[in-house]
Symmetry: C2
Subunit: 408 residues, 2 copies
């Protein structure tokens, strides 16, 4: 955890205990520090699991093994290492992950493929096997901890711990969600050095859980960007213990499936926004809404072109309603757009319509909007019904300060 | 022109006069300043012209009209306005361009399509027609000026004037090149708010000049990036007066065509490097060379993913040999790559080979290399013969300072 807290930070919420989920944290000393940096979560037998992973082709062994293991649909244990991403470390890195999996599986008496491992931190240094072995051994026999401690233990450059809760009614049974996430830089569509874990006591078939998680990720985690960089380790896992005792959800025909899907989507959206709010150097939270595109996918690509534009992000940092830079970003997105049908607004006020500055444009209310912590950029392409919202933060001196002096 | 000069600035070179090319500059007062901001270049009858333009779909009227006029292959006049890009200004912006074209064409007694106009500066403010009319009238009757004055007059946020020269022998006749360029931010493949003008006294068919300019641009202007943003106004024009008297070049079969092509490529490369060296906030010039890719195009896309990565650019700013971030950028490029065959180096020294840090990696010489003004990043994918070099600069506090407070 970093010292200077993001001005967009929100207090850690009260998260419910989830029956069948037991978190632990210990200090494995992956770096020279005294903080907890190894998180272990024990999951009740029969817990369903689903996951989404980075599309970075230079992914870590953790991601490779996790992606392969998701198919069998069940999980008993989760280990998260902070301070070392173990990415790009060849066979030595892979051996460290296999060692952790074997150690936890032996303790739980489960197949290795039911143990999931994530690591986050510097790339290129093999995870030290001795520290991992001692840390896991300590974690397996430690006292359980609360969600905030776990959220802190999975963090690296984060400036505040991040959690989200939700609940849903399934056929008269209340199911609960508790979720934690870490992530601050190297955030782009396809996620980031973003590690997110969602726990619920709902009963649900793994395949349906995967379907819902993938859909929710697409509209949340894959719609945020801090710096357009995609990490080698991004992972979001959802675990459902079934302890709530509802009739298991098998598909959208199951009663309560819509409520569960809505709650899962809500948790994912909360988590995604928290990551943006801790974007490296962020001073403002920016929502970019693109309407009138030829399709939703086209709207999202245009939204991401705007959200990834350094010139747009620095303009917002400077509280400058520079809609010309938004025009530029729309034009470079490689998607259908017609300059003479394009409208640009901020905070609900149009600055330009149909390809021209508004004659009676009053910049005062826009300037007031831009002084706030939450900024809305609206684009109407005037071509069709496609629509999407993406979220990002501004680009400030803080980003440079953090990233020009991170590893040294 | 900005006050603080880039530490990568180079002195303006001695450029030859080009027979048939007469530059002029005047102050049209497009902004409240006393500097020259309107450049007019008169070209001898029969001058061949070729051009490449931004692919930003929200382009300016200048670009639209220029692109359409290139096809007829001849040019008599060029007008460049600095301080106002006239982009996204609807019919009023277009009328201003048409007025300039008509005024120059009437003076020269040539068709309007032989007059080319560029504008650079803030987007969204129509070019004031009265200032343009008075400025052009003054320019048409003004004394000719030198190349450095013209290079200064086309500048906006540039911190130094930029020019390049070359020559070639065509069948015993020496032909000369003089070229100027402006550009500093909003620089990405597909060029930038980059306006470049190349003048030669060679005789060459317009179609062949276009073929050579497009090829040279692809390997130079389209291989540089400052901030991944693509301007609405990018333009590079090449003018060939034919005054040198060589046998006109019609294709690669013409004697001397290879020498001419090499000289043109050299001029384009010089100009492209100058723009990167004036990248907003640039402290270091970075060459990214990618080899072992499945194709040259794939190598270029991977090179651009590295060169556009804020995390790589801030690492170089911090003089940090953070090859892990280079791995990340390779992986996110969406191109074929195999983590376990990947090698990364700096300044000719490998830091990682075949997917792992080198056991005997000595960081001292790499650290020394990174302290210099010119940094080389080398990537070997180990897959094929594809190869490309792209150029960029580091990402510093200077970029934020310039762009968070540009328009206000």
């Amino acid at each position: 955890m970093s010292d200077a807290v993001s001005p967009l930070a929100v207090p850690f919420p009260a998260l419910p205990a989830i029956a069948g989920v037991t978190p632990h944290v210990v200090c494995a000393r992956y770096k020279e520090w005294g903080r907890a940096d190894l998180t272990y979560v024990e999951l009740a037998e029969g817990t369903a699991v689903a996951g989404v992973f980075t599309r970075n082709v230079c992914c870590s062994s953790e991601v490779e093994l996790g992606r392969a293991a998701i198919a069998q649909g069940r999980a008993r244990g989760l280990v998260v290492n902070a301070g070392n991403s173990n990415a790009f470390t060849g066979y030595r890195g892979r051996e460290a992950v296999e060692q952790i999996i074997a150690q936890v599986a032996a303790h739980l008496g489960c197949p290795g493929e039911q143990v999931f491992v994530s690591s986050t931190g510097v790339i290129g240094v093999p995870l030290p096997k001795d520290k991992a072995r001692a840390g896991v051994a300590a974690a397996l026999t430690s006292e359980p901890c609360g969600w905030e401690a776990a959220a802190r233990a999975i963090s690296t450059t984060d400036t505040f711990p991040k959690g989200a809760a939700a609940s849903a009614m399934i056929g008269g049974v209340k199911v609960q969600f508790a979720a934690i996430i870490k992530g601050s830089g190297m955030i782009a569509p396809d996620m980031a050095t973003m590690l997110g874990y969602i726990f619920t006591d709902a009963a649900i078939e793994p395949g349906f859980l995967q379907e819902l998680l993938s859909a929710a990720s697409d509209a949340t985690f894959n719609c945020i960007t801090v710096d357009s960089d995609t990490s080698t380790s991004d992972t979001v896992l959802a675990f459902a213990t079934g302890a709530a005792g509802n009739t298991p959800l098998a598909g959208f025909a199951s009663p309560g499936a819509d409520a569960f899907a809505a709650a899962l989507h809500d948790v994912c959206r909360q988590l995604a926004h928290l990551v943006v709010k801790d974007g490296e150097g962020a001073q403002k939270f920016i929502a970019v809404t693109v309407g009138g595109a030829v399709s939703d996918a086209s709207a999202r690509r245009i939204g991401l072109a705007i959200a990834n534009s350094p010139l747009v992000k620095t303009a917002i940092a400077g509280e400058d309603a520079n809609w010309g830079r938004v025009v530029m970003a729309v034009g470079k997105a490689g998607e259908p757009a017609d300059r003479d049908k394009l409208s640009i607004g901020f905070g609900g006020i149009w600055a330009a319509r149909d390809g021209q500055p508004l004659a009676d444009y009053d910049e005062a209310p826009v300037a007031a909007h831009l002084k706030g912590r939450e900024v809305a950029i609206e684009v109407d392409l005037g071509l069709g019904e496609g629509r999407a919202t993406v979220w990002t933060c501004d680009l400030t001196h803080g980003y440079i300060a953090i990233n020009a002096d991170y590893r040294s």
